[in-house]
Symmetry: C2
Subunit: 350 residues, 2 copies
DNA sequence: GTGAAAGCGCTAACAC
DNA sequence: GTGTTAGCGCTTTCAC
């Protein structure tokens, strides 16, 4: 292994000068010629910094922990991590990712591991948007919740704006002229099912359409669920359906086709989640509202880093007592228009 | 921050003894009482090892790099990483994951980053099984290729056994009594399309069924591809189809349904990949052959670690010249039986 | 058995 | 401007 010492010796300078030259430290004035020489020698010798030693000396690791409960199981987690990684990288940090698979013991161990590694913060994420009780150790370090939140607001959190998303989905249908719109929601209460319902109601209200509880149908949030509610949907007399997610829509598509019915001629459909593998490839392709996964990752890390910077600044204020609980940052869900909506009316400017 | 020094002082022992007690070092004889006292003090003080300092002193980082070209984009990558992480963890190592998104510059930077971090090895993985040219830096360290390989065999590689998988898929159909079996393959040549075709032919040959090139249909390996070849499939007179992947099968399902045809009554179908979100939820659910993603990850890391151990042992042998190229390790693809196959004959013992 | 002390490779005061 | 040097927190050899 080539050390800085070797480089310094070979370049005929002191180890300090070598360090400055290699790091291109502007605070110290070294002639450009020396800088170049050192760097050339370093290159030739195949010198590579030892980040361990550097971190130890500087008291800064440039590491950020990322705890996820399902990179493996969920098609969503990957995008979140990608966003987080990109944002971290942009700030000269690197992500230490651990997938706990939802296991609490694993979570604790992951935290320890990260803290031992001197991470500068931990992003704790869940693949499904819900309330969580993060491991105790999490408040020992600058941390942030991604796609989840703690009810007490002890941590900053970044989550998708389910209400806005539900409203956007419904608006898509309203704008196409539909007035009798069914909402096939998930049975289980969750930020998603509650928020999207709220959004659905908000959209209807804004459009002056009365809310009819009979149009809200509930089922398991997957293909089988959607497949099973087809009769209810048809019986409701709706001309359009907003499905809780793309999987439900996929099941509904299957059931409709078996009855010889066509989307969007017989029924317009909007999904949620934008699971590309489904939504982009159904026949016809499904209009839907996407989850801002990548952005959640980016904003999570950004929030973490900003808070880290503040912490450095605030000398007086003692964090412990800061009574004001964090309000989750809500991220907009993007609309994705495809072919599953039939236009009943000429598009009006809304 | 509580250091080992603090613990030692508080426990009234030397820093060395404290280190031994904390690490429960068996090579040195310290009375159990002292060990316990030190550990108790450490606990009380909230002491936590500094992995940076430890690594620096021991010259061992316990870090393994994992480069992937698509955690985000692919539903496959997640499982591979999960397997890799589990196996690493089991050996007291932690994974440093970087997603390069297929960008060569990013790959190089990721390598540098990892080498600076003193990783003990790098697993380089691709989400699609294919030949790769890994970044130059990769041979500076113990490394392994996962779900990909280099043509020169310079690195150990772990890949799915496409031939066995293709054979398994075809066997499923043969065992159900089908003799006229179509293979809807991908157009592009790849280890997957070539291997699965080979497996298809092997299975037919073993069953004494003549290979008929007319039964091999080619299309894009996605839903649109499968949707588009329905006429060809029907015209071929096949009673069963082996699709290159689940997405193709999904497209085919849609096209069949639009023609009022049913799976498996009118046509039996087998997919490949076992993309659960599709295969488990089609109507009927799709029989398929899974990719051994988790195992690829596990075996990748295991291979890495084993090679690392060997390296330590082999003093005499100079690795550089070892002419024998690595042969990829082929991992068995598991069969997943669901409802999309019609039994033509009573099951015979095979 | 236990402690003193010499590093691990690098950074950053502080001299000169 | 450049070099000297004291750490960063921990491990481990070598005395006692």
């Amino acid at each position: 292994m080539v050390t800085l010492q070797d480089v310094a010796r070979a370049a005929g300078v002191s180890i300090a000068t070598a360090s400055w030259a290699v790091n291109d430290n502007k605070n110290v004035r070294i002639p450009e010629s020396t800088r170049r020489k050192v760097r050339k020698v370093a290159q030739e010798l195949g010198y590579r910094q030892n980040a361990m030693a550097r971190s130890l000396a500087r008291g800064q690791s440039d590491l950020i922990g990322f705890i996820s409960d399902g990179v493996a199981t969920s098609p969503f987690a990957g995008q979140v991590i990608q966003g987080a990684q990109d944002e971290a990288w942009r700030n000269g940090k690197i992500l230490l990712v651990v997938d706990t698979n939802g296991d609490a013991g694993m979570e604790r161990r992951a935290c320890s591991f990260m803290l031992e590694r001197q991470v500068e913060g931990i992003a704790y994420s869940s693949w499904v948007h819900h309330a969580v009780r993060p491991p105790r150790d999490l408040d020992k370090v600058n941390s942030v919740l991604v796609n989840c939140f703690d009810s007490e607001g002890r941590f900053p959190a970044v989550v998708p704006d389910e209400v806005q998303g539900g409203r956007a989905a419904t608006d898509l249908l309203l704008q196409a002229g539909h007035r009798r719109i069914s909402f096939v929601n998930a049975v289980d209460p969750s930020p998603a099912s509650q928020g999207r319902l709220q959004g659905y109601r908000d959209a209807l209200a804004a459009a002056g359409v009365a809310y009819d509880p009979n149009l809200v149908i509930r089922c398991a949030a997957d293909q089988e669920g959607g497949y099973g509610v087809v009769e209810q949907v048809l019986a409701s007399g709706a001309t359009a359906v907003f499905c809780h997610n793309d999987r439900t829509a996929m099941g509904l598509f299957d059931a409709l086709r078996e009855r010889g019915l066509h989307v969007p001629e017989d029924l317009s459909v909007v999904g949620f989640d934008n699971q590309e593998i489904i939504s982009a490839h159904l026949h016809p392709a499904l209009s839907t509202v996407g989850l801002p996964q990548y952005d959640l990752g980016v904003l999570g890390i950004r929030t973490l880093l900003e808070r880290g910077a503040e912490e450095g600044a605030e000398d007086a204020e003692d964090g412990e007592g800061s009574a004001l609980a964090y309000k989750p940052i809500r991220v907009t869900c993007p609309t994705v228009v495809r072919r599953s909506i039939r236009n009943l009316a000429p598009v009006s400017e809304v």
